[in-house]
Amino acid sequence: MSAADAMYVIVVGAGKVGYYLTKQLLQEGHEVLVVEKDRKTAEALAEELGDIVMHADGCEVRSMQEAGMGRANVVVAVTGDDEDNLVICQMAKRKFGVPRTIARVNDPKNEALFQELGIDQTVSSTRIIFNLIEQQIEASQIIPLAALKRGEIEVVEADITPDSPAAGLRIGQLELPPNTLIISVIRDDHAIIPHADTKLRPGDSVIAMIKSERERELREIFASRKA
């Protein structure tokens, strides 16, 4: 990485997430400062990582000033407490104008709230694991490929099986949910840019862009009847 790409990242919370995140960021050549409230944890980490560890309460404005938050490109709050992560990011954003704030969220319900309250990005391992389990259980033929606009829009892949309701239909005949766009049809390893007359065959994969809340409706159109 060139020096120009290197960022100054402040990581608040030196638990397991903060620790491995810091090591990875350092490896990539970024400038990192870890702020940890617990003295013992901070001291132990400083022995390993040197003076990039600061023993302080990351929620205190004074510690934020000392940490040089004003010049941070990214502030990541990964303590075990959602309320601390919220306040760290809000203060970083509003008091120090940090361009990008990322908060770890333990209660998945807080993700939407945090975003409404101005946090740029949230990560909830609870939700990620839950989603993985859900995908397994539902064994659907709809595979999420990417989430855009904070998960509001999804790009998904759906396989057409012989018993899919959509098999044998032209795209124009499908009763797609509103705001759904079929971007491509993958047939025999070739990507086709489809039009209304493109007929779907078993073995095709359909790539679609949809509003996340419509995923279930889309599943009904493509998923096999047996499922």
């Binding site: 205190e60 404005v61 319900k109 709230l113």
Partner: protein, 158 residues
């Protein structure tokens, strides 16, 4: 009015007991059921055991029907988060948070959250008492706290 109070410590239990006696409909929330022993014996309001930054707890307290929400737990950040939850999710018209840290209190006041910094108010009142002065203003007390804290920060950076 229907008022929901988060945190049944010394301050929370006092507000709850007083407002209940004054005829308000009071609900008090605390994580620890033992804390409710601080309430006055004539307290007739609702007691709810739960985590105040969990939407489900606040819904159990019928926060959607409340006229006011007061957050007075020991944690500044907990208070800050719960009042924002009350404003954004439950549209409570009046929310007040107790915040010990003067700078945080000022920062969130700027964001339109009513905060009471008991550190500043306490310090100001005591100063006035010692100097034999009349009560100044809460605004002046808040200023005292902020000046102190930021001066200290400047000093340490040097």
């Amino acid at each position: 009015m229907k008022v929901v109070i988060l945190g049944c410590g010394r301050v929370g239990s006092t507000i709850a007991s007083v407002m209940c006696r004054e005829g308000h409909d009071v609900t008090i929330i605390d994580q620890n059921p033992d804390s409710f022993r601080r309430l006055a014996s004539d307290f007739t309001g609702t007691k709810i055991v739960g985590n105040g930054i969990d939407e489900d707890t606040l819904r159990r307290a019928e926060l959607d029907k409340a006229d006011a929400f007061i957050a007075v737990t020991n944690g500044d950040n907990r208070n800050i988060m719960s009042v924002q939850l009350a404003k954004v999710r439950f549209k409570v018209p009046k929310v007040v948070a107790r915040i010990y840290d003067p700078i945080r209190a000022a920062a969130y006041a700027e964001l339109g959250i009513e905060t009471v910094c008991t550190t500043c108010v306490g310090a100001g009142l005591i100063r006035d008492k010692v100097l034999g002065r009349e009560f100044s203003s809460f605004e002046e007390y808040l200023r005292l706290g902020i000046v102190n804290a930021s001066m200290e920060a400047d000093h340490e950076r040097r």
